[in-house]
Amino acid sequence: MSNNRNVLGLIFSNMHDGTIPDLTKERTMGSVLFGGRYRLIDFPLSNMVNSGIDEVGVVTKSNYQSLLDHLGSGREWDLARKIGGLHLLPPFSHVQSGMYRGRLEALYGVFNFINYSNADYVVLSDCDVVTSIDFSKVIDQHIATGADITAVYAKDIINAEQAQHATVFSFNEEGRIVDVLLAPHISGAANISLNMFVLSKEFLKNIVLEAASKSLYSFEQAILQGRTREYKIMGYEHEGYFSKITSMETFYKANLDLLNLDNRNKLFPENRPVYTKVRDNPPVKFAIGASVKNSLIGDGCIIEGTVENCVLFRGVKIGKGAVVKNAILMQDTVIGSKCDINAVITDKNVTISDMRMLTGSQNYPLYIGKGAVI
């Protein structure tokens, strides 16, 4: 960190699991696959590492086997450290902790971890927002404004469905949050929370202990909404490219958004790489007769057919004469020869036999579950 600040990162892997129940049936929100070779947690984790944060706790709740497998010792994020590094924080880790109902309870469950850290500041982040952000600038602003809490937000235009998963802020002239709406019945332009917050460690400890004694569990309700006047809660506007995943439809769209080269370059700037688990796949093989347009393709794919407007994850195989359009095919999906596939999301290890035709629609992609054979 530029000026010797000690910062602790805390990532909540299970918040928002319910927004895409199909994809989180056997995994956490953090371990949902995204963008051809990543899992959602790679984005907050890489953002923290790229912001100089070298001590990160991942607060998990349930379904975390795939998450643990993905993160391992944290080496791929350069977080396999003697000092600091990656800490996995499952529930039931001490007597008082258990299945938490909200962020405050989750924080109470890992209170000792926070307490023992040398950090002066804590950055909290969920896994539902895909973006590239420099947290050190958020912390700079947090210190400069003397805020109790700094909440990262973005200006966005949302529909009624997205609003159901949004926290919307209003500000006064100084940028202080004066009104907080949770899941409001609105649509249109709004300042939406990106579920990333900066607090000093001492302040965080105080609110967590107080909340525990009052049986409050929701950070959004009890703190952001309940203490708007009492605490100085400042907004930090994130102006970069982002996608907020609130449903299967937004997940689908967020993936396909990366086919815009401008978006891809903003999400993966050269000096702020996004780290992920290495799989040692060979390069992509384009066979004779392959035709690929406007697609994002992870390593290890073997393409013998036609692919347009798709995101193919690592190790996908497309058979001869198959035509695949507008699809998200996750790791090791196999599409047989002469298949006709449109607007489909396949989970990991799906096999589609030769000559099948599967069609979803752009606003309601057809989802095929992990390991299915069709």
Partner: protein
């Protein structure tokens, strides 16, 4: 420090310059030269070691070792970051008696006797960083043990007309090596040495010491150690290997070895999950293939952005091929940019080059009147080719033009 005994330790000779790769090895040793889209040549012997169950590898470096040391690091990409064993880079070093470069292959091993002795091995596998092949060294070791040999040399049966390019082993019916000829004019056998040896360490150790103490001898395996063992009637056997094996010591053979990956009839399969090739993976987003791209029969890897035409080519990580650019029968190494309207044919373009708009690198053999004038065009690393410039066949570019 206490080290557990290892049955077999591998020593990988990676110090050679590879001078016949010219501009490509100007500032990196040959084993660090990129190959196959996301590998470097040294990934093949290293992955073979790991897949064969050999977890202790000494990598002998000397010529331009920076890229190589940086690449190997602590050996983690090959699972060779071990508490006991693992990958170790072994450059020449200073001793109380002075400092010496590695004077030859035998001297390089001699200077590292202490490294090998730490693991008290029964056998030592000697490898080089010059070849592309997938081989189970453990099978060769079993053969070495069954035969009770002091030295086992892996050989390939090559066509007679090519035999004079290799070290040739003359054997009896029971695989015993009875004679050995380096690049013979009139070969007496077609068994070519692959540069892969297994020695029983106790015996080899003594031959190395004797060789070092004899000022009249070359400090080289081919010129001294192997002939000395033959002379002494040691049990030496040839181990026949029938898979794909290619020396990538020349620009032509490096180009061919890349093209072999695109030929389904040539048995080098990087997609076999049973014999995975490991490498230091680039940290880059997946490749993006644009709306104007036409790609067939090619390999392209992470980080690339391709919106032009690519045919029969191997494109390494982080390469950009702009709309309207054409790359055929070529190799484009990591980080290079091929600008709009540029045409690259039958060429090798090194790392981090920029090929300007409308430039022409190489030509198809059919386009040349006299076939003797034709050959692969080569652009070295970190070179800018300006707009509309031309690089002729056989030309090797090592400065911006």
């Amino acid at each position: 420090m206490y080290k557990t005994k290892k049955e077999c330790v591998a020593m990988l000779l990676a110090g050679g310059q590879g001078s016949r790769l010219y501009a490509l090895t100007h500032d990196m040793a040959k084993p660090a030269v990129p190959y196959g889209g996301k590998y470097r040549i040294i990934d093949f012997p290293l992955s073979n070691c790991v897949n064969s169950g050999i977890d202790t590898v000494g990598v002998l470096t000397q010529y331009q070792p920076l890229a190589l040391h940086d690449y190997i690091g602590n050996g983690q990409p090959w699972d060779l970051d071990k508490l006991n064993g693992g990958a170790h880079c072994l450059p020449p070093y200073q001793t109380a008696l002075g400092a010496e470069w590695y004077k030859g292959t035998a001297n390089a091993i001699y200077q590292n006797i202490a490294f090998i002795d730490r693991y008290d091995p029964d056998y030592v596998v000697m490898l080089s960083g010059d070849h592309i092949y997938k081989m189970d060294y453990n099978k060769m070791l079993q053969f070495h043990k069954e035969k009770g040999a002091v030295a086992t040399i892996a050989v390939q049966d090559v066509p007679l007309e090519e035999a004079s390019r290799f070290g040739i082993m003359i054997t009896d019916d029971d695989s015993n090596i009875i004679d050995f000829e380096e690049k013979p004019k009139n070969p007496r056998s077609t068994f070519a040495s692959m540069g892969i040896y297994i020695f029983s360490w106790k015996e080899l150790r003594q031959y190395l010491i004797d060789n070092e103490n004899n000022p009249d001898e070359d400090k080289d395996f081919g010129k001294a150690i192997i002939p000395n063992m033959l002379k002494a009637n040691e049990k030496m056997v040839a181990y026949m290997f029938e898979g794909y094996w290619k020396d990538v010591g020349t620009l032509d053979s490096l180009w061919e070895a890349n093209m072999d990956l695109l030929n389904p009839n040539i048995p080098i399969d990087l997609y076999d999950p049973e014999w995975k090739m490991y490498s230091k993976n680039p940290i880059m987003p997946p490749q993006y293939i644009g709306p104007n791209a036409v790609i067939e029969n090619s390999m392209v890897t992470d980080g690339c952005v391709v919106d032009g035409t690519v045919d029969f080519s191997v494109i390494y990580e982080g390469v950009t091929i702009e709309k309207g650019a054409t790359v055929t029968d070529s190799i484009i190494m990591p980080g290079s940019v091929i600008k709009s309207g540029a045409v690259v044919e039958y060429a090798i373009v090194g790392e981090n080059c920029v090929v300007g708009e409308g430039a022409q690198i190489g030509v198809r053999p059919e386009a040349v009147e006299n076939r003797d004038d034709w050959g692969i065009a080569v652009v070295g690393h970190n070179i800018t080719i300006s707009e509309n410039a031309k690089v002729l066949p056989k030309q090797i570019i090592s400065e911006n033009i």
